[in-house]
């Protein structure tokens, strides 16, 4: 990240060209903004492709989609949904089991645009310090939201959830939600690197739980070619997920199996040696790499 090495991805740009070195980033932004736009053309132009919001939506009068974390909170709070919401949650769980749990975070969630901006800005202006807190905190918060839902009999987390606040705000009116989102942005920028998405957000934590079993993963078919430039590490929002797969820690297969990987694909972009690519967890044990496969 210093001037001598250039910014992360500089080598990849030189090697592959700018477009190829930003392929997944661009696709991801297109996905995030595209999904937002699908929702927005309803209230903006009365073009009702999708109704509702990320909590529950109904597309073209046929496709219900329900957020599983929200439904879980509702069940814990003692209420049951109607048929469409059940169907919607089944579709969502199956989809994220295939597409990778935390793909939600990097490909759908609107708050990611905000926290990515904070991360980018933090790197650009060279802010070094960061408060420390365990990345597992999000699971504690996840558990806490469920306990509070059970104790109060309300979907309590929805009172302050910045994810639905931003999405709902854009569609139905912000109110003071901007203040909460500004707080998240400033927290990520000045207080803690990747603070919200990487340490605190229980929505992401819930999708991590799905991600533990999900099919689509980042593969490292050419991990032997790694030249330790650390660019992938510099851009990764969940840095701890790379090392086991890249360095074959404990004989790990060349596959990122860590549940917290958001499948953002930025590591693929910035690697000049083409170490990474999208793949599935199938055939993990037989993956080729620098180190011999699992010996257990």
């Amino acid at each position: 990240m210093n001037v001598l090495h250039g910014r992360p991805g500089a080598e990849a740009i030189a090697e592959k060209g700018w477009l190829a070195a930003h392929k997944w980033l661009l696709l991801r932004r297109a996905s995030q903004l595209g999904i937002l736009l699908l929702f927005l053309v309803g209230p903006w132009f009365s073009l009702w492709i999708v109704k509702g919001n990320l909590n529950y939506s109904y597309t073209l009068g046929v496709l219900p989609l329900t957020d599983p974390y929200l439904l879980l909170q509702m069940l814990v709070a003692g209420q049951t949904p109607e048929k469409l919401a059940w169907i919607g949650v089944a579709i969502m769980i199956v989809f994220w089991l295939l597409a990778g749990g935390r793909s939600y975070c990097s490909w759908v969630c609107p708050v990611n645009l905000l926290t990515d901006l904070a991360s980018w800005l933090r790197a650009r202006i060279g802010l070094k310090g960061s408060a420390h807190i365990a990345r597992a905190t999000r699971y504690w918060i996840l558990a806490m939201t469920l306990i509070v839902a059970a104790l109060t009999g309300t979907i309590a987390w929805e009172m302050i959830n910045p994810v639905s606040m931003l999405h709902r705000g854009l569609l139905f009116g912000m109110g003071l939600a901007w203040a909460v989102l500004l707080a998240v942005f400033l927290f990520d920028l000045f207080v803690m690197r990747q603070g919200w998405c990487g340490h605190l957000c229980p929505v992401g934590a819930f999708y991590s739980l799905i991600g533990k079993f999900s099919l689509v993963r980042i593969k490292l078919p050419a991990r032997a070619a790694c030249n330790d430039c650390m660019d992938c590490f510099a851009v990764c929002p969940e840095q701890q997920v790379i090392r086991p797969a890249l360095k074959a820690v404990g004989g790990a297969p060349p596959l990122i199996l860590e549940a917290n990987c958001t499948n953002c694909g930025r590591c693929i972009d910035v690697c000049s040696k083409n170490v990474f690519r999208f793949g599935t967890r199938i055939g993990a044990a037989t993956g080729v790499g620098a180190v011999t496969p699992l010996s257990k």
């Binding site: 109704k51 049951t80 709902r168």
Partner: protein, 301 residues
């Protein structure tokens, strides 16, 4: 980079003291985390409890569960808002005194138009809006209350009647009850009376009320409706049920009236024909109905 990594590396060294330190560190970290998250949870819980009370101006869409259940059943998706053909529903924004993201309407701004097919309930993916409600006239969004008799035009003696005429449950939810206008002494007041049995709380009356601030307002049911104690019995209904007086024999009441006056049940006071009234009735002060002693003014007995 992360604090959870330190215990592992320390423990790997194998020395007893360092593993003790590591263990201590681990428990300290865990305790810190648990305390921090618990505090956050406490705050969240208190905030959530606080916001389950609905402010009196905000009404829920038709079929909404009681407030305590509603905040658990509503997933804040806004489908009811989208499917309302009159666009009168809103989702509570951050900073408004309702659970964030839940639907409501304000009767004075835009009341419920009571669609027969109730599209908002159909759109609801949960049971926050009770899917068992299929007849909109059975909905209970609130209860209209004529809160200010001092400004209600009908109470002032005018024939405004607007609330009565806009009511979608016409002549059932609001009726006009004639009452004598004591001020003029010769006119009738048509008093709007709301009947909770039929009122859906749609808010059309509040919206239509022509006074600067509505004299009739829709309030949440639990705020507007009283309830008799369970042991109360209404004598006249018990009498009807029993087919006769429960206190036998039903004694004939003797009215102790001034001379020249007669009281008949259902008719009230009247003067006896001159032939019957030999003594002269004292002259009533001007401005009062003739023949009524002051003590009986405005008193129906």
């Amino acid at each position: 980079m992360d604090s959870e990594n330190t215990p592992k590396t320390n423990a790997a060294s194998g020395s007893r003291t360092s593993s003790n330190t590591a263990r201590r560190q681990f428990f300290a970290d865990a305790a810190r985390l648990a305390c921090g998250v618990s505090l956050l949870g406490l705050g969240l819980g208190l905030y959530a409890r606080h916001a389950t009370a609905l402010p009196p101006v905000a009404l829920r869409p038709p079929g909404a569960l009681p407030e305590s259940e509603f905040s658990a059943a509503c997933i804040r998706c806004g489908m009811c808002v989208r499917d309302c053909p009159f666009n009168m529903l809103m989702l509570a924004r951050v900073g408004e005194p309702l659970a964030v993201g839940t639907p409501y309407f304000i009767a004075r701004q835009a009341p419920c138009e009571m669609c027969e097919d109730i599209p908002c309930i159909k759109a609801c993916p949960t049971n926050a809006l009770d899917h068992a409600l299929t007849d909109i006239t059975k909905s209970k969004m609130g209860l209209a209350v004529l809160v200010d008799q001092e400004t209600c035009l009908n109470f002032l003696g005018l024939r405004c009647d607007i609330c009565y005429r806009v009511c979608p449950v016409l002549d059932k939810a609001i009726t006009l009850e004639p009452q004598s206008n004591v001020r003029t002494g010769r006119h009738t007041l048509f008093i709007p009376v709301v009947h909770s049995e039929h009122c859906t709380g749609c808010g059309l009356c509040e919206k239509a009320c022509p006074t600067e601030i509505a004299a009739i307002k829709v309030l949440p049911l639990e705020m507007a409706k009283g309830q008799l104690s369970a042991h109360y019995r209404l004598g006249w209904i018990e009498k009807e049920k029993a087919g006769g007086s429960l206190v036998a024999p039903d004694v004939q009441h003797h009215y102790n009236l001034p001379e020249g006056l007669r009281y008949e049940s259902g008719k009230g006071l009247s003067t006896l024909p001159p032939a019957e009234s030999a003594p002269v009735v004292p002259e009533a002060p001007s401005g009062m109905p003739a023949g009524l002693p002051k003590a009986l003014q405005g008193n129906k007995l």
